[in-house]
């Protein structure tokens, strides 16, 4: 993926040689330093931009634009301030022409799943940042997409809200069974959330390594996030990934594990 520059020779190649296949139901996390091309990759998957070379497939069909089969949760600014909480969550189904009672039921259900059942008629701009992100998640779920694309959804939250939101997202993932593609620049968050962790290296953005991890499943079984995050294995892997990102070197390409299943 190359962005044209203002003058010839100033083009930015933001992504290069990215070969990635997502398995259905996976929680895939991309971690990498700021500016390494994570958002560029997500925008391609969401259909907000088209690749300058290469192809993206969803269930064998080429992605040519955004669509309701891929729900997106943004870092900020994505709620409609002129609508209240419930209307925001209902909006997708309304635009798709779903009947009022049906979309209301879906919105109420999804708001309850993010713990906002008492905030239906609040203005969204009066909610805290963490609550706004929960509205964003309920909204994305309400259109019942095949996969959720999340671009640093917790990046602007304080540390405590961030941890509870991580747990909420894992619960939503487990309950919905959806494929999640999640971007973060926090290695700890990436390790905690992922079933598959991708390390991205910058200039141009490449997938430098892939790890299969199971800390999220461990959390969902034992429900003790602190225990998972202070586990010796967790800490060792965290340091390894951090070292990997810091050194910036690209590992052996065979490190990028490819698995069959749903194309993405």
């Amino acid at each position: 993926m190359t962005f044209p520059g203002r003058r010839p020779g100033e083009d930015v190649t933001a992504l290069s040689d990215v070969d990635l296949t997502l398995a259905s139901g996976d929680f895939v996390v991309v971690v990498g330093e700021s500016g390494c091309g994570k958002t560029t990759l997500l925008n391609l998957m969401a259909g907000f931009s088209r690749p300058t070379s290469g192809r993206l497939l969803l269930n064998g069909e080429e992605i040519v634009g955004p669509g309701a089969d891929r729900g997106v949760v943004f870092q900020r600014n994505a709620l409609m301030p002129w609508l209240d909480v419930l209307a925001n969550v209902e909006l997708g189904l309304k635009l798709q022409g779903v009947s009022a009672t049906e979309r209301r039921a879906a919105a109420v259900r999804n708001l309850a799943s993010v713990g906002l059942q008492d905030f239906h008629h609040h203005p969204v701009y009066q909610l805290s940042g963490g609550m706004q992100q929960r509205v964003g998640m309920a909204r994305a779920l309400t259109s019942d997409p095949e996969m959720l694309l999340m671009d640093e959804p917790l990046g602007a939250l304080d540390a405590l809200t961030r941890e509870t939101s991580q747990e909420l997202i894992l619960d939503l993932w487990q309950a919905s069974g959806k494929t999640v593609f999640f971007i973060t620049h926090s290695v700890e968050e990436a390790l905690f959330m992922a079933t598959r962790l991708l390390v991205m290296s910058p200039r141009p953005g490449r997938l430098a390594a892939s790890y299969d991890v199971d800390f999220s499943r461990r959390f969902l079984a034992e429900r003790d996030a602190r225990a998972v995050k202070s586990d010796a294995e967790f800490i060792a892997l965290r340091e390894r990934v951090l070292e990997h990102i810091r050194s910036g070197h690209v590992r052996d390409a065979t490190d990028v594990g490819l698995r069959g299943g749903q194309d993405g």
């Binding site: 669509g67 729900g71 002129w82 997708g92 701009y125 997409p145």
Partner: protein, 264 residues
Amino acid sequence: MADSYGAPGGGGSSRGLSLATTAALFLAWWGVTAAGWVEPLFLPGPGAVLDRFLEVVEEGFGGATMVEHIWASLSRVGLAFLLAVATAVPVGVLMGMSRVARGILDPPLEFYRPIPPLAYLPLMVIWFGIGELTKIVVIYLAIFAPMALNARAGVRSVPIEQIHAAYSMGASRLQVVWHVILRGAMPEILTGMRIGLGFGWTTLVAAELIAAQAGLGAMIQQASDFLVSDVVIMGIVVIGTIAYLSDLAMRYLERVLTPWKGKV
């Protein structure tokens, strides 16, 4: 809710100060004239102006009563304003949306915008005669530019995340324009309407220079021909008051329609 520390314009209502300023200005006016420091021909006192106002309300001036003058001006500005809303807002939105529309419409708009209405008034008279049409066109042109430019800026100010979110919930292009861009541009559209209305009142006297039977501008014009300075001042106060009241109405509309303005 109290304003947060350092919020621009915070610290409570400014109404008390506004009333105090108004009272002080009236007092100064009254003092200067009552003391006899200026000739009544140059500046008649508040009492004389009020007497004149009551006289014009009952008996009229220049062939029309006060109500007729006000109604003539109000309907000219009102009609020009409605025409401008119906045309300038769509044009501005189009300019914000489309590179082609922006390219085509930007030069004529930016060319005529800074020209004082008095400069093109003679041309309007040659083109449209000395009837109502010319007056309304002159006021309309003054309102059109700020309204279109603000609508254009409003469209450009809509966060891309909101647009992307709508597409990802299955919205069509038309739905994005209607449900996201127009709503998101609303604060600027309303600002444009408010500024435009002010420009309308500013242009009124110039428009009514041409052979008007009734109208506040026409009344001032006739009064100045006969050096009746109390009618001139009375006309100024009436125009200023009506313009101020209409601005208050627009501000009220802003608060009701876009309570989220500046909070996201």
